[in-house]
Symmetry: C2
Subunit: 325 residues, 2 copies
């Protein structure tokens, strides 16, 4: 039984309610809502759990948030809730840091190997029942530049390095002694380090500073043999510049899991371009990911109820959870 | 200028001559030949370099080998030249151990990730311009059983382990302290260890003992969720048993780079089966592999000329180069 002092939790969901909510439901009044009911659900709510993490409904409903103290989002990227009113408020924002690290790292290693071994070519030839031997590439000794040094970028760096690649990072602060990256180049000098990379992996948070950082100048700086991998956010890329650069042969391929418009529109040229691998924003979504997301929130909810410090608190000036390093 | 005591080297090639033969041509009389000229080329030859390593021409031409002392094959597997007359002779046989280790290991890791992340499904959906989110598998913590503990199997074990998988081996000699595999189970107990594996990798040499080792009993022992990877020889597998087991759902998929008949016949059901990845015997063939193969032979040729011990001497009783371990 929930007492009169039990907190009110609004949960923004899409088609599916989050799983494993029983323990939370026992200690809070939980209001599940879709986007169109969010304003009503926020009125009097103490906590908002943004389970539908790609929803853009929060800014519109925000004026109804009359006693909100904490927003938790079921994703690593917090860009959908980084609107000015939330940033300026004293509402705490937390994310789901850690859930996607290893699965996205595996996905990135997988697409690197798919390019090197030409799996797309093998599948196309298989569909035609054609036996055609080709020579393939090794990944050992090849260089990956990982743009973004948060936990997911770190997991990517560790895994690519374990598989024999040379790795460097691009982040806010230059350093030569990073335990995962070795060398981290400063973001403002990205372009001068792109020519050294066989694979360029975009995994930076989407902020005003990173939006559109992969533009025509960046793609022109890449090797004609380079492949670009985006597992961060579609808006890190100027999509028309990427399409033009691929057409011009300024780089050799792209594996894209995120797009500036999702679902990727039917008429996007990316669907049919050779050497482009499209996947539907799923690189991190392993079997069990929804349970893992709720577990992160449930842990934080227990902390919040007990007056303990929350985990994964977003620095709303930076737009992400700052690393301890 | 080649003296009268210069050795005669027969080189069995297909469409292409081997590259980088200049230094060898300076110290030997080199007879390049296709299969139909092999008998003539072998008459009076001291050395045979089987550059066309899948050729089956050597047994037929063997009676013409009247002074042959050494056969080198440009592959890791020596099964095409393990016919009784060569085995019974005192002709030394060497192979190209080492050339393919890292490229085949990368290929195996690539197909493991392709299964886990459903790249084939993504490519099919991409061809239809369809955005359909799926949940994927992680490979971290999953178990791979590598059947074959030679250098290629060891490279596979090391790489899969580096990528976070649990690995065990199957080989001639059981042990618990192998530096690459940890545990190696004995070959005769393969079937009882198959149920523990998420991925089963066939990389054993083809011998009388290993031929057809993956048969209906083996596939029936696998998990319904298991994937089978063959980078060894097609004849390790009873193909019709594999096809039947896949149809019956006794295992979840197969990535096959080698086949009992190559090129894979047009009417093979493997081309069109869902969850089967076909590649044309190329998993080891990185850009530069032909040069690497000739370099291995050239090194051994120099040793032979200098009276030094040859590298990669095949134990003709075992059918492969025995490991130092």
């Amino acid at each position: 039984m929930i007492g009169t002092d039990s907190p009110v939790l609004a949960v923004l969901c899409g088609d599916q309610h989050p799983p494993d909510m029983d323990s939370i439901e026992r200690s809070a009044t939980v209001r599940y809502t879709r986007a169109d009911g969010l304003a009503e659900a926020l009125r009097g709510a103490d906590v908002l759990f943004v389970y539908d993490f790609l929803s853009t409904a929060v800014p519109d409903a925000w004026p109804a948030a009359d006693r909100l103290r904490w927003v938790h989002i079921a994703s690593a990227g917090v860009d959908p809730v980084m609107f000015p009113e939330l940033r300026a408020s004293d509402v705490v924002l937390t994310n789901s840091r850690g859930v996607f690290d290893s699965s996205i790292a595996e996905y990135v290693l997988g697409v690197v190997l798919a390019f090197a071994k030409d799996f797309a070519g093998s599948l196309r030839l298989q569909q035609e029942c054609r036996w055609r031997h080709r020579e393939t590439e090794r990944i050992g000794g090849r260089t990956a530049l990982v743009v973004g040094t948060g936990p997911i970028g770190r997991a990517i760096a560790r895994l690519l390095r374990a598989a024999g690649m040379r790795v460097a990072g691009v982040g806010r602060r230059a350093r030569d002694d990073d335990p995962d990256f070795g060398t981290v180049y400063p973001s403002e000098r990205l372009t001068e380090h792109l020519p050294g990379a066989d694979y360029v992996v975009a995994v930076a948070p989407l902020t005003e500073q990173t939006k559109g950082m992969f533009d025509s100048a960046a793609f022109a700086a890449m090797r004609p043999s380079a492949r670009f991998v985006n597992v961060g956010r579609g808006e890190l890329v100027v999509t028309e510049d990427l399409v033009a650069a691929l057409r011009a042969g300024e780089l050799a391929g792209a594996a894209l899991d995120v797009f500036d418009t999702e679902p990727l529109p039917q008429d996007s040229p990316l669907w049919t371009m050779p050497n482009v691998l499209v996947s539907p924003h799923m690189s991190g979504d392993f079997v069990g990911w929804r349970n893992a997301l709720v577990a992160v929130f449930a842990d934080n909810f227990q902390r919040w109820r007990g007056g303990q410090p929350l985990r994964n608190v977003v620095d709303k000036t930076l737009g992400y959870v700052p690393s301890g390093r």
